[in-house]
Symmetry: C2
Subunit: 230 residues, 2 copies
């Protein structure tokens, strides 16, 4: 039975922009597992798989349904032990959780500040209404206000990426010689930005740019071929 | 033959304050290895082991001399495979390097800004002269100026610790159920602050405080018993 991956899309179903869904896309490619993408808009999420999901990615593999990209990675490693490992042993799983929390707390707020209104603009009307209401309640300002002077956040993001930049001076990937799920965690964040942001933000040269380029080219250039909203 | 650990001290040889030396102290305790401490002041470093070291910690184990706390951890895991692992497998080693670079780039500059003049004040005269000249050239200001309004850095440090705080909501240690070298990396940074800083800085409650307390109590309370300069 084909694995189904429910993943977030814009008004154009080919625009798949969620950082978390990209973590899972890359995970499935890493393991060489075929999957069928089910593009899902924000307002369609409550209706998928009989309301089992509050968020995407959601993976359906036979009768098994798994949400959350980290849980999905653990599930894939356990279920397909003969494919390349995403996480490694238990110490590596624990340490991967640090990278996840770092990315979520240090990169995501800055990236959100750089592209949230741009994301809004690529959604279908009904999703725009949901997204604006939900996100404006969380950030306590309008999406437009969030983007006021957003350029200062570019430099803040580059500074926040410093631990990755320094690491890449000594090794090719966060996972070592080859990428692991921890790499896809950070890749997902930057791919989110690459696909949605209407101003140039990503570093064009240096260790982080080269690492990102290598990941964009992997798996037959899946990341690079992704349709962008801009 | 007893393992020797050269580690940084103040004018009072019992004040051992270096974050990197604490990483190694905790590593040796983790592995249950006896060692003899050789308190070493800044200006004594060039003279130890026939000038082989530019920095401490420096470990001498029989005829083997190893510097750098991460290299020492790798050496100990390799040389004493029957003792508890500090790092785990190769994926975990690669991921530990991320935590090291995060701590070094995100925590150390803030901690240095909070305690550098305090460190100066616990050194012997000859070391004070060296330390002031070396550090003021690096920071391009006086040690006194660095501490002007240093209180703002307390809040910045708490914010920088957010990835750790979030991680600790899901697991007991960065290494998982038990501490690993990655925990000692961050422990070393906070212990550096605890031993030297003349103003209260460390969080008194919450996940990070509780994690730090557990580590201070480990190995017969070695960390908690350490003599402080303040």
């Amino acid at each position: 039975m084909t694995i189904l991956l429910y993943e977030l899309c814009g008004a154009d179903e080919e625009i798949l922009f969620s950082p978390h869904c990209w973590k899972t896309r890359m995970s499935l490619a890493h393991k060489g597992l075929e999957f069928q993408s089910v593009p899902t808009s924000f307002t369609e999420i409550p209706g998928i798989e009989a309301g089992k999901a509050k968020s995407v990615p959601l993976l359906k593999d036979g009768d098994t349904i798994v949400g959350d990209s980290f849980e999905i990675a653990k599930y894939l490693d356990k279920t397909y032990p003969d494919t390349p490992s995403l996480l490694g042993g238990k110490e590596a799983i624990a340490l991967t959780n640090f990278v996840i929390n770092w990315s979520q707390s240090q990169l995501h707020p800055l990236i959100g500040g750089l592209c949230m209104k741009d994301i809004h603009d690529i959604l279908a009307d009904v999703d725009q209404t949901y997204f604006r209401k939900d996100r404006e309640a969380k950030i306590k300002m309008t999406l437009e206000n969030l983007h006021d002077g957003r350029e200062v956040k570019i430099d803040m993001l580059l500074k926040a990426l410093l631990p990755l930049k320094l690491l890449l001076k000594n090794q090719s990937y966060i996972g070592g010689d080859t990428p692991k799920f921890a790499d896809y965690v950070v890749f997902g964040a930057l791919q989110w930005l690459r696909i949605t942001c209407t101003i140039p933000v990503l570093p064009q040269e240096g260790e982080v740019a080269e690492w990102f380029d290598r990941l964009l080219d992997m798996y037959e250039g899946m990341g690079r071929a992704a349709k962008a909203g801009v």
